[in-house]
Symmetry: D3
């Protein structure tokens, strides 16, 4: 299994069809860069020893702290790997201790959008 194949498998596992879409969106910008992105994602997320739920919780923390415009992608990913909507909510509320209310409310709104957009 090549690094790229492993990365695409990780991408599918974590981001589902949204991951494929990001890859397709980045490819016209630069194909080599898009491939390296997939390989780097695969390098990280195929490493054993850490539960994917724990890994995605760390992503949530980082992207909330950054008020990232990509936050919704990672909330979806957290749900994809098995964190429940309630767990995602808990983690976002927890972030108020570390990022304050305005950032937390930004994240909370992103989560509500994700929850309402996902097929039940």
């Amino acid at each position: 299994m090549s690094r790229f194949e492993r990365g695409m498998a990780a991408l599918q596992n974590i981001h589902g069809s949204a991951g494929q879409e990001v890859y397709e969106a980045v490819k016209p910008f630069d194909e080599v860069f898009a491939r390296r992105m997939i390989e780097n994602i695969g390098d990280v997320f195929s490493r054993p020893g850490v539960d994917l739920k724990v890994r995605l919780a760390a992503n949530l923390g980082a992207l909330v702290a950054q008020q990232s415009p990509q936050l919704k992608v990672h909330i979806n990913a957290a749900l994809n790997v098995g964190l429940s909507p309630d767990e995602v909510k808990e983690l976002i509320m927890q972030m108020v201790l570390y990022c304050g209310y305005p950032t937390c409310i930004y994240a909370l709104r992103a989560a509500e959008q994700v929850f309402s957009e996902r097929p039940k």
Copy 2:
């Protein structure tokens, strides 16, 4: 059990003696503020439904993203709640995808200091 007592229990559970030290350090600044801090920590971390390892992974993500001078406190906390040094290392390496190398290397050095300072 009062909110404060619940908070002190959570603090002890997560931060161990370092938590008590932060509380004692903040108290002379403002006693009410120090107490509210403990209560707010208790409000979050006593909520059921999310594994403490998952909660601390989210903290790691946020504090790495912020290049927080408090990062070492939260690496210690991650170890206290049962994440292994290898899991902490994995999460920090994962952050390179979201925060880049310089921030990641800052975190990696903090982790190495924590690992070497903790009693085996």
Copy 3:
């Protein structure tokens, strides 16, 4: 007067009807979290000894520095507690020294929107 009532009074005083709206928006996400938010706001803003105009100036500084999507809420709050539009403008222009022009222009546009939306 309970912490919650004191918080709602502070919220009304500072954020006016927008404060009520934020509370109503957060409540469906998590009612306890929404209540704690109000209580924490009350804990801070009901403390005597600092003029509310001074307090809201500090908020402006922080939210401009963060390029917060919540900035408009706090510009409105600054006006609610008695800072004049000219004072808000001065503070935003001052921030160029500490945050640079792009961040400052982001804030300046938020202020202009707030000024044009408020009833005269």
Copy 4:
């Protein structure tokens, strides 16, 4: 009164001898840049219509949010223009709502250092 003289007066008023030191420290790096810095500070802080205490509160908010290594300089400045140590403490504690605890504790420690270093 030239822009530079006005700036030096504002610097003296706000930063006291520490302002002179910053100017002297920047001058060998680039004399024109150092002069422009003073002129820009003068341009902002000599504008009428906003109480210097309000202006410095906004600085505190911004520099706390940035976890700025220059925070101590601006805590000193806040005290120089007439904010009391208690007011500075209140503003820093207020920032927990907007920046979270780790950032707030960083600021709180900076304030304690400033308070202990200033001549009584």
Copy 5:
């Protein structure tokens, strides 16, 4: 040539008609502030000794790192001073090493919008 004239020339050179638009947009907010902005831009960009392409590369780095809502303005400026679209793309891809993927993808989308909006 006054500082303002020099600044307007630099603005025209770097930002083209978009620079004029920013100036016109800021002027109603505060005319003196708008003029000072132009003068400060002129002070920096009229200094000899650094290629404008090198200068705009540094701007790109800073505004990508800040996830600035003004990023598109500076991508346009980079193209105006002679960086090719391919060079801009390379610099944005390079930023993944220092800012991570989500920030990089934000910048990449901004660049694609700029490329498609510019007259060929």
Copy 6:
């Protein structure tokens, strides 16, 4: 030439002996991660079409904006690829327009340390 060899060549070219030191420092943390870091650096900096001086100017912008503790490493790198100390100074002074004075002064001090530590 393998990706790793290409990365080590780029590292040597850009970071000189400091690059080797960073690699050696990261290796005990995780050897695979250290190798991937080198490969990713090689992937970026071995791409043709952009002058290394332009590339390092972008790094300077990003790391100044982040107030990165790694800033000195990248100032050294900028000098290694042929930016003169005067060019580095110009770029740092330019950053005041985008990041404000406190951040700029932090960078200016880092640059002065680098200049004084480098062999003439």
